[in-house]
Symmetry: C2
Subunit: 330 residues, 2 copies
């Protein structure tokens, strides 16, 4: 493998979805790539015809309010506590600038975006294993990515303090029974992702849910035109579509059963996950990652855990290729 391939290969350990690096790292792999390296639903919400004004005009306060109301109903939140944002990553980038802290604790191991954002803003990041070890600001991804660890809402609520910022990233909570969104404690920012469940990561839409004064600070920092017109329109339609979400849940449940079954047959242990990704363990997972890559199947490896691979749920049409890749001779 050339040095160039080596660099691209290393990038695949940093975050999912980097098909360009996958192609560079595995130039001989058959195409198209099957991307199981993210937790993005492979069956997207259908893009409707968009009124031309959504492209041409500045997004209006009324359009933003309409999406806030629909999102509030979906997340069982109060509309005035919902903040519309261009993706949760934009909020993750914003929080350290808006609430500067000398030190922040993150319940790890977890999605690295939080650490990167706080680190870039000059905070000292503590990677903790028990939430009670945090003294100041605290970030928890719940359910956690990649291992699906879940903390009960009551436990999270007990971690809230007037004196600390508490960030609960519910990026993968859409199919969970509980959420802090309905009643966020004081000084708590709940993050909800749109693009993962709805399979529209390119749209850039996400939400913060927080009590009114905090929500208002986030809105002011984002500005009046942070979210695109297409995102406002598509988000409002998709989040109001109960039938689509119900069918999606049923489809993902079936997909997860299928994937868990073939992974177990291929010698993996399922160690966690959500309806949008499965975390699987096998002693030689790092080698298995490379073998899958040579077959054009991109999964998500972890440098610190060479026994782990995270698998997104494949589309039905991709099952045969995924299965063949999993059982191909190394």
């Amino acid at each position: 493998m050339s040095q160039g391939n080596g660099e691209a290969y290393q990038r695949l350990f940093q975050h999912g979805g980097d098909i360009n690096s996958a192609q560079a790292a595995f130039p001989e792999a058959p195409r198209p790539w099957i991307d199981l390296s993210t937790g993005i639903n492979a069956v997207p919400y259908p893009i409707p015809d968009l009124p031309p004004e959504r492209w041409t005009r500045l997004p209006s306060p009324a359009e933003i309010a309409a999406l806030q109301a629909v999102a509030a109903a979906r997340y069982r939140a109060r509309a005035e506590e919902v903040v519309v944002a261009p993706g949760t990553q934009a909020l993750i980038q914003l929080l350290p600038r808006l609430f500067p802290a000398r030190r922040v604790a993150i319940l790890g191991p977890t999605y690295s975006g939080h650490e990167k954002a706080w680190d870039a803003a000059g905070a000292q990041v503590q990677d903790i294993r028990r939430p009670e070890d945090a003294e100041g600001p605290l970030v928890i991804v719940n359910p956690n990515n990649p291992d699906g660890r879940r903390l009960p809402v009551a436990t999270l609520r007990g971690l809230a303090r007037d004196s600390r910022l508490l960030v609960i990233d519910e990026a993968f909570a859409d199919f969970e029974p509980d959420s802090l969104a309905a009643d966020p404690p004081p000084n708590t920012v709940v993050l909800r992702s749109f693009g993962k469940t709805y399979g529209l990561a390119g749209l850039r839409l996400g939400f913060a849910i927080a009590r009114a004064p905090l929500a208002e600070r986030l809105r002011a920092a984002l500005g009046a035109w942070a979210v695109s017109g297409p995102a406002l329109e598509i988000g409002a339609r998709a989040l109001a579509d109960d039938a689509w979400l119900k069918a999606t849940r049923e489809g993902l449940e079936e997909d997860a059963r299928w994937l868990d079954g073939v992974l177990v047959k291929a010698g993996y242990e399922i160690v966690g996950g959500t309806l949008l990704f499965r975390l699987a363990a096998r002693p030689d997972a790092a080698a298995a990652f490379a073998a899958l890559g040579r077959h054009g199947v991109l999964t998500r490896p972890f440098a610190a855990r060479p026994d782990w691979l995270r698998f997104g749920l494949p589309a039905r049409d991709d099952r045969a290729r995924v299965q063949a890749a999993l059982f191909a001779p190394a």
Copy 2:
């Protein structure tokens, strides 16, 4: 007029494009409204069919790099100095957080978004009339909105200091002969808007142009997925389309001649502007604003200058209604 109408009416003095408030302030006005209250081109770049991946996948570094290269060619800038952002307003919101300052000077009167962003971040804002009156960080909109005031590039270059942040907002510079984008001085951030010239304000796309270390700080603060897939695709196509831009310039030149002609006939003096808006003066402009509103034509009034109205350039199909509204008896 009811109190509710009064509040909506007041909002029309704060920024353009607020059709909901216009409808509330002038409930009897004929519809559809003709919105001349912004500097957004009424003839948008045509929305192409978008590859599904632009909606479904996270925007990739390669796609961002491709748009950077096209934008660099359009603005005659260096690709490594171009920062892709979800609209220049997002950059305007970001700058005060990224470069905290006790005090900032803004060459006024101008677009109020800069003052609001610095004020919200806790800076003391000085509204200055001569750039040499600034001591610390300095913001200049060039050409200026609403009066079209232009400072020569050499003058702007002379204002750059290693010790100060200089923000040159070139939101309306696409048809100007000169720009700082080709060679930004040290510690200078040049802002270029996409949505105005291309008539796609809902897309949320804009650029900062700055020397490499500064550009890199802006990119890091925005994060890897700040701009939507559709914006990356449409921006790259539109900014590479020389023929469209040439035809647009010729169309806007003709539109500006027509609008200036009818405004002068209607008793206005043209006191400034660009190819995307005209600033017109008449002693009773505030009353004229209300009269135009009653005819469903929204323009941009200014509380501090009751003799000014700013007019966007109407689409050809709207000329007859605009002309009739301008000459209707009060």
